[in-house]
């Protein structure tokens, strides 16, 4: 894929990292504003879509490391499940960090009570969705030209 014109590339340069920051904002404020893990993760994944469209695959593949996104995917999922297990003596997925609203009103430290594991799970899901959706983009793009140069061979397991 060839890179697009200077106008498009400059626009991408201005907004690509801003997308990451905006996505992180949506993820982290998931318990008080509309948004949360999945929505913010999808916004962060458009970072790769920007770069792919503006710069083209030949430039991007020199910069891209898929292992980072694989690691984000696995890390986010494991964090989510470990947070579920940590509430264990009371019940699975128990919110062991949250403080009820009555105590927060008494302590005078603010109005919105901490949502506890909801925010942590939001961040874990956000990291995971970022990794997952970016990988989907990259693999679907690679699939376009994957079979241009050779026939679809058989995997060795199909023979005896």
């Amino acid at each position: 894929m060839k890179p697009l014109s200077v106008v498009v590339r400059t626009g991408c340069d201005l907004f690509a990292w801003f997308m990451v920051i905006f996505g992180a904002y949506v993820i982290i404020h998931g318990d008080v504003t509309p948004g949360g893990g999945f929505q913010g993760g999808a916004v962060v994944a458009t970072f790769l879509a920007f770069l792919l469209v503006a710069y083209g695959w030949n430039t991007l593949k020199l910069w891209l490391q898929e292992s980072v996104y694989n690691a984000m995917l696995g890390f986010g999922l494991l964090c989510f499940l470990v947070l579920g297990f940590m509430g264990m003596p009371a019940s699975f997925f128990y919110n062991f960090v949250a403080i009820p609203a009555a105590e927060v009103a008494k302590s005078g430290h603010g109005i919105i009570p901490p949502s506890g594991t909801i925010a942590l799970m939001d961040i874990a899901v956000g990291i995971e969705v970022t990794g997952g959706l970016s990988l989907i983009l990259v693999y679907m793009f690679k699939g376009i030209h994957l079979f241009d140069n050779y026939e679809i061979g058989e995997e060795s397991g199909h023979d005896r």
Binding site: G74, L77, L81, S91, F92, E155, H158
Partner: protein, 521 residues
């Protein structure tokens, strides 16, 4: 004991942990990943067995995700169920046991069967996700949670059916399966949304206690029955089943059989517990009975003419699902009428429920033996196979046991459950029993054909170097064989300890509601 009360969450958490931690374990090499896969499946089976013991001793198990109490005490003093609640009664425990045994056998089989393919860490994760989705469908007490687990297991199975992505037929089968599955899942979601809109509750016990039959509830019942029957492979919507079962790798097919039984579980939960006696007319039970008969007959008549082993077994799946729908429809018909229930309805339910367990075991074993044939010879076509009995003695022996069980031959477990179904449906209407008997005869005919073509006969020169399949595949098949033999040798113990509590729990709608609502409402 405190760990016993966390068992329902463990049966979901352990396969999920297996799925999510697999990338870590596959960094350590192939052997570590295989050990991880087998050990997590084994632990899941142990947990399912412990749950069954606990439910037999203590009654319905209720577990609340994320809090200490299940109900919210409203100012009016009424207890209202909020939060996601897992509710395991004897029927759920029975199905979870069957499903986890099938999953363990498939996992043991797949570690060697999939040996020469690539991308195996994703395969293991998808396999565990499918297991977690199936078990989640069986243990949950919340309608939307049921939909979420239905979708988890469906999406995982789309990937697994298309796993041999260099074969065009697998990709085609997965795409067609995906279309039917998504359509039915959206119908289930619309039905669940309508029920939520009417009653402002998503909990099965809560809705069951508040249900009044109106136009919307009848539409919801129609949507749910059609959509869940579509996922089981009942007659008009069965086209995906032979394709998907044939083109998936054999260990995955063993698990897909158990997943379709989870959809059947959902159908029975909706009809017996959610609606129960408020179903009004006998229209829906007769629809289920007719669908069952059509599936039985159509499945087996298409199966007799097939050339490919796994596709033939896929068509037999359709006819066996027909048996279960027939039996459970007869039970549903006599739900409001204590006289007919005592006469034949309860026996039909026992037959249907016992048949679910038997079917999961012998169908899984049949698919695994077909996969062994493919692994050893490289082909699934009956015209090309022949004379393999001498070369693969253990596989032949296990195939004979499974084929005898599915045809309903006397010492095996298929005979016991089919006898219960014949007796009870004969008391309702003789034609039903006659159709079931004819189907059984045709099933026997097609499996004699498979046995004679693939295993007996003179040895072909091209198979001179075929040898028995490796040990881990044999152990996976041996587990299912041992369970089938156990079910065959002790039918009365199984009927009184496994099947009868399950049938009683299915009929007992007020017990299900009372476990959550506290019996007060």
């Amino acid at each position: 004991m405190s760990w016993q009360e966390h068992l329902p969450a463990m049966i979901l958490a352990i396969p999920l942990l297996g799925a999510f931690a697999t990338p870590l374990f596959s960094l350590g090499g192939k052997t570590l990943r295989n050990v991880w896969m087998v050990s997590i499946s084994f632990i899941t089976m142990i947990v399912a067995f412990l749950i069954w013991r606990t439910v037999t001793v203590n009654g319905v198990l209720v577990y609340v995700m994320g809090a200490e109490t299940a109900t919210l005490a409203l100012p009016s003093g009424m207890a209202y169920p909020v939060r996601i609640i897992l509710e395991i009664d004897a029927f759920s425990a029975f199905m979870a046991l069957a499903g986890s045994i099938a999953s363990f056998a498939g996992a043991m089989y797949s570690i060697h069967f999939m040996d020469r393919f690539s991308g195996l860490s994703r395969f293991t994760s998808l396999y565990f996700l499918q297991t977690a989705g199936m078990l989640g469908m069986m243990v949950t007490g919340d309608l939307f949670n049921f939909f979420v687990f239905l979708e988890i297991s469906s999406v995982a199975s789309f990937g697994l059916v298309a796993f041999w992505r260099d074969r065009p037929e697998s990709v085609e089968a997965s795409f067609k399966y995906m279309l039917v599955s998504q359509l039915s899942a959206m119908m289930v979601l619309i039905a669940i949304g309508s029920l939520y809109g009417r009653y402002n509750a998503l909990n099965m016990a809560g809705i069951a206690s508040m249900l009044h039959l109106g136009v919307v509830e009848k539409l919801v019942l129609a949507f749910l029955v059609v959509a869940l029957a579509m996922k089981c492979g009942a007659f008009p919507m069965h086209m995906w089943m032979p394709d998907a079962y044939a083109e998936a790798p054999a260990g995955v097919t063993c698990l897909l059989v158990a997943v379709s039984q989870a959809s059947l579980y959902g159908l029975m939960r909706v009809c017996y517990t959610l609606y129960g006696t408020t179903m009004g007319s006998s229209f829906v039970p007769w629809v289920i009975i007719v669908l069952g008969m059509a599936s039985m007959f159509f499945g087996v008549s298409m199966a007799v003419v097939q050339h490919e082993v796994k596709r033939l077994m896929g068509y037999h799946s359709i006819s066996q699902v027909g048996y279960m729908l027939l039996a459970l429809g007869v039970g549903l018909l006599s739900l409001g009428n204590p006289q007919t229930m005592a006469d034949y309805g309860f026996m039909a339910m026992k037959g249907g429920i016992y048949h679910i367990f038997n079917y999961t075991m012998y169908k899984g074993l049949l698919f695994l033996t077909a996969g062994s044939l493919y692994y050893a010879t490289g082909t699934r076509d009956l015209d090309k196979l022949g004379g393999l009995a001498r070369r693969m003695p253990y596989t032949t022996f296990m195939f004979v046991i499974a084929a005898a069980a599915i045809s309903g031959l006397p010492p095996f477990n298929g005979f016991v459950s089919k006898l219960l179904i014949y007796e009870s449906t004969f008391a309702l209407h003789p034609f039903l029993a006659v159709a079931a008997l004819v189907t059984s005869v045709l099933t026997l005919a097609s499996f004699v054909k498979v046995f004679q073509t693939a295993f007996l006969g003179p040895e072909k020169k091209c198979y001179a170097s075929v040898s028995e399949v490796p040990a881990s595949m044999l152990m996976g098949m041996a587990l299912l064989t041992i369970v089938i033999l156990g079910l065959s040798l002790f039918p009365s113990w199984v009927l009184s300890n496994l099947v009868e509590p399950a049938a009683k729990a299915l009929v007992d709608q007020s017990g299900y509601i009372g476990a959550i609502m506290g019996g007060g409402l």
